[in-house]
């Protein structure tokens, strides 16, 4: 990551609350009817939205990607419109945010952010989104069985019927699906769809958590069915960034490495950078697989990679990165300093093998 961009990103995060407060004040000044239109919690709601946009803007500044921010804005607008919030208000909020950033922050900081914000306010072409890609995976397979199972699995989850959900997925083993197929064509699209529904306010946090817990339970029950290749003598460490609480995607990746014959050290979610480096020194793996579940984790991912690269003992470790943010922004992984990137769990194993064989 570029050092100046990273510093500007930190500064934006460090004053995001003040900027959000002033943005909403200005927005309300221009639209005095806001309380009437959006109810008693309008101010807190809009500050929350503005704050989220500012944190995303800070990440886009860190990796110097207008596309990342534009995609986030587009995604937010879709979900907010589903909740009755108008496009005009969202755009005006963005314009107020721009005005406050320009007026209040030192030019050394705002000049990093304003071009990115401006790009999102124009009709910037948007690349493929996360959900589009994942759904396309299921559709391209052309398997009616897969589509049917995903739908039934989601229905069981939304009915809070864990037994039925598990049974629906496990029965596909008897119908010839492999574990990688189940991960990639059923569980992964289902998780993606649940996240999308939560984001649009169609399901609650509880529903989403129930879905994740069920998926993890299904994955545990699939383990006895693993048909592992012979051990290849290679070792992969799988980890997330500090603060990242998502782990299903990473768990899928390390499971598939295990099926491929790799030794696996799975560190799970929210691992401190220093502890990752210490483990790399101790275990000396062939590959570090880093999961980035949301764009809000990109700067921390970059920090982790920089820390690894700066440590003489582990600097040569091959580094594979993956996660939803990399689906929508081409070349982002290079900006972060990784050796390779994978967009699916099966691709992760292919790219991992390629990286260590060089």
């Amino acid at each position: 990551m570029d050092t100046t961009a990273k510093q500007a990103s930190y500064v934006i995060d460090s004053v995001a609350k003040a900027v959000a407060n002033w943005t909403v004040d200005e927005h309300a000044r221009l639209n005095p009817q806001m309380p009437e239109r959006y109810g008693a919690s309008w101010r807190a709601d809009w500050i929350g939205h503005t704050l989220a946009q500012l944190h995303m803007l800070a990440q886009a500044v860190a990796v110097r990607s207008p596309v990342l921010f534009a995609n986030s804005v587009r995604w937010t607008h879709e979900s907010f419109e589903a909740r009755g919030i108008t496009e005009a208000d969202l755009k005006q909020n963005a314009r107020c945010m721009r005005e406050i950033l320009e007026k209040e922050l030192p030019p050394a900081i705002s000049q990093n952010a304003l071009p990115i914000l401006d790009a999102s306010l124009t009709s910037l072409p948007v690349q493929a989104t996360d959900t589009g890609n994942q759904n396309a995976g299921a559709q391209d397979a052309g398997e009616s069985l897969v589509k049917e199972v995903v739908l039934k699995y989601l229905t069981a989850i939304l009915e809070s019927d864990r037994v039925a959900a598990e049974s629906i997925v496990l029965s596909t083993l008897d119908r010839g699906l492999s574990v990688p197929d189940i991960y990639e064509k059923i569980l992964s699209p289902a998780q993606s769809r649940l996240g999308q529904m939560w984001h649009r306010g169609e399901i609650s946090v509880a529903d989403e958590h129930f879905g994740s817990a069920t998926t993890q339970a299904v994955m545990s029950q699939l383990r006895p069915s693993f048909k592992r290749a012979d051990r290849n003598g290679r070792l992969v460490v799988g980890t997330s960034t500090p603060g990242d609480l998502h782990e299903i995607g990473l768990q899928m990746v390390v499971d598939l490495f295990e099926l491929d014959g790799w030794g696996v050290v799975y560190l799970g979610a929210n691992t401190p950078i220093a502890d990752v480096v210490e483990l790399l020194k101790r275990r000396k793996p062939d590959l570090l697989a880093l999961s980035v579940s949301t764009a809000l984790m990109l700067r921390d991912a970059g920090e982790l990679i920089e820390t690894v690269r700066a440590d003489h003992d582990v600097a040569q470790t091959k580094l594979l990165i993956g996660g939803p943010p990399f689906r929508s922004v081409e070349g982002l992984w290079r900006e972060l300093g990784a050796d390779g990137c994978a967009l699916t769990s099966t691709e992760a194993v292919k790219v991992g093998n390629m990286l260590v064989s060089v």
């Binding site: 510093q7 004053v15 995001a16 609350k17 003040a18 030192p106």
Partner: protein, 191 residues
């Protein structure tokens, strides 16, 4: 002599803007916590203070005061403004920083006293005219109640009532936004 952090901020160095938060975050946070009751308010205030510090970085003169003093000065002014603003509605205009003078390190106590005096004068100004006139003579001039009654042509009982009710009202006004901390230069509580 190398430039100070604030001089680098004024010169447009991105790294200095970020370093400012690292260097003075503790000082500004400790001041904010002492001026404001709730951590969330303090957090908001700290962010506003840093924005103010960056905007005024060009005004910093190392020959007049230390950087710490300058930072503490801006922080305290903003925190006082915020406390007053939160205590009263409608919102008052904040004190323009351009109107502030930079203190030497040993004048912070004087600033405290001036703040107190200005605050008390402001509270006094919000009393009813008769209450205010009687209280000024009784408290500021030290006149006996009978003398005030004679000079203003008021019954003695009315003077006593104005003094009593005026003091109660004044105390309420001051308590609304007032629990004045005593700070040393580093922003730590003086023992």
């Amino acid at each position: 002599m190398s430039d100070t952090l604030l001089q680098k901020v004024a010169a447009g160095e991105t790294a200095a803007v970020a370093a400012c938060v690292d260097a003075y975050g503790g000082l500004v946070w400790s001041l904010a916590r002492r001026f404001l009751d709730h951590p969330s308010e303090a957090e908001d205030a700290v962010q506003e203070v840093f924005i103010e510090i960056w905007k005024n970085a060009a005004r910093f003169d190392p020959t007049v005061a230390s950087e710490t003093t300058f930072v503490a000065m801006i922080a305290r002014r903003r925190l006082i403004d915020r406390r007053r603003r939160d205590a009263r509605r409608p919102v008052n205009e904040s004190t323009p920083v351009d109107e502030l003078s930079i203190p030497s390190p040993n004048t912070l106590d004087e600033i405290d006293i001036r703040d107190e005096a200005a605050h008390a004068a402001s509270a006094l100004g919000r009393l009813k005219p008769d209450q205010r006139r009687v209280l000024k003579l009784a408290v500021c001039q030290g006149w006996p109640h009978q003398l005030i009654a004679d000079r203003l042509g008021m019954p003695l009982g009315t003077v006593k009532t104005h003094v009593r009710r005026g003091l109660i009202k004044l105390r309420e006004e001051l308590q609304a936004d007032h629990h004045k901390p005593q700070l040393n230069e580093s922003g730590k509580e003086a023992v």
